[in-house]
Amino acid sequence: MKNKNLDEIDIKILRTLQKNVRTPFKEIANQCNISMDTIKSRYNKMMKNEVIRGSTIVVDPKKMGQGNLVIIGIKIVQQFSDLVMNIIKKMKGLCVVTKSIGQYDIEAIFLLEDIEQIGIIKDKIEDFPQVKSADVGIFVDKPLLCPKNFEFE
C-alpha cells in the first residue's frame, strides 16, 4: 500500500528524525542535497497534516522510579463496555484503554508505582457488576520499544 501523501524526501526526513529527532534540518538537507528551507517546509507540512504528531524522548520508567506496566484484560456483561471504559478512564496510572475484539472486551494498560496497586486496581474493576472478570498481566524486564519500525510503503 503506497502512501500517496509522502514522497521520498518526506520519508527520508521521517526516517532520520525517527533515529534522532534532534538532527538539525541542515544535516538532513545536506544528506538529501536540497535546501534547508525545503526540509523545513516539508516538516511543517507534515506537522500540519498530522503525519507528525510531535517529538519526544523515551525515558526509562524504572530508572525514574515509575514502576511496572500492567495490562488488564476485562470481560464485560454485554453492552456495558462504554460505561466500564469511562470509569477506567478516570483511574490513576492509566496509559491506555481500548475496546477489544478477541478474548477480552476491554483492555487497559496501567503504569503502577508498586505491585500492591495491581491487586487494588483488579479488585476495583471486578467490583463493578457489569464486569465478568479481569485478567492481569505484568510486563517483566524492560519492554522493548520499537517505534522506528513503521513501514512507509
Binding site: I52, S55, V59, T98, P143, L145, F150
Partner: protein, 152 residues
C-alpha cells in the same frame, strides 16, 4: 517516588523534551537561567545514565496507511521467551514487545494495515521456532496512548 540522583535542572530538561524533543538547549537554558553548555552536559549525562533511552518523532500511524492496533499474546516453549522476544521486536509494525507474567508469556502491540496484514503478522509469529500459541485481539476505539511510552 522520584529518582534521587536527579535535581531540578535534570527533571526540567526531561519534562521539556518529553513534550517537544526538538526544543533547543538554548531555550531550555533560558528557562532555567543556566548556560546552554550546562544543558548539553546534563543531556549527555542523562543519556549515559540510561535515563533517556532514545528520542524520536511521533508519527500518526493512521496517516501513513495503518488502520488499527492489535495486541498479540504469545506462548512459547519454556526458557525460550527471550529468544522469541528478540525476533518479534524485529518485525516491522511492532511498537512494543515484552515478557509478561500472566496469561501469556509474551505480549506485543502492533500497528496493522488491514485484515490481511493481521493474518500475515500472526503467521510470521506462529512460524517462529519455539512459539506454541498466538492469540490476537483487535483494539477498537482506542483512547490516546501515552505518547512518552508507546510513541504512537
Amino acid at each position: 517516588m522520584i529518582n534521587m540522583n536527579l535535581d531540578k535542572i535534570d527533571t526540567t530538561i526531561l519534562e521539556i523534551l518529553e513534550k517537544d524533543a526538538r526544543t533547543s538547549f538554548r531555550e531550555i537554558a533560558r528557562k532555567l537561567d543556566v548556560s546552554p553548555d550546562t544543558i548539553s552536559k546534563r543531556f549527555q549525562k542523562l543519556k549515559e545514565l540510561g535515563i533517556i533511552v532514545d528520542s524520536t518523532v511521533i508519527i500518526n500511524p493512521k496517516k501513513i496507511g495503518y488502520s488499527f492496533i492489535s495486541r498479540f499474546g504469545v506462548d512459547v516453549k519454556p526458557a525460550y521467551s527471550s529468544q522469541v522476544l528478540e525476533e518479534i521486536i524485529k518485525i516491522p509494525s511492532v511498537i512494543v514487545a515484552s515478557k509478561l507474567v500472566g496469561k501469556y508469556d509474551l505480549i506485543s502491540i502492533i500497528v496493522v494495515k488491514n485484515f490481511q496484514h493481521l493474518c500475515e503478522l500472526r503467521e510470521i509469529i506462529l512460524e517462529m521456532p519455539y512459539v506454541e500459541k498466538v492469540e490476537a485481539s483487535m483494539w477498537i476505539n482506542t483512547m490516546e496512548l501515552c505518547p512518552c511510552y508507546f510513541l504512537i
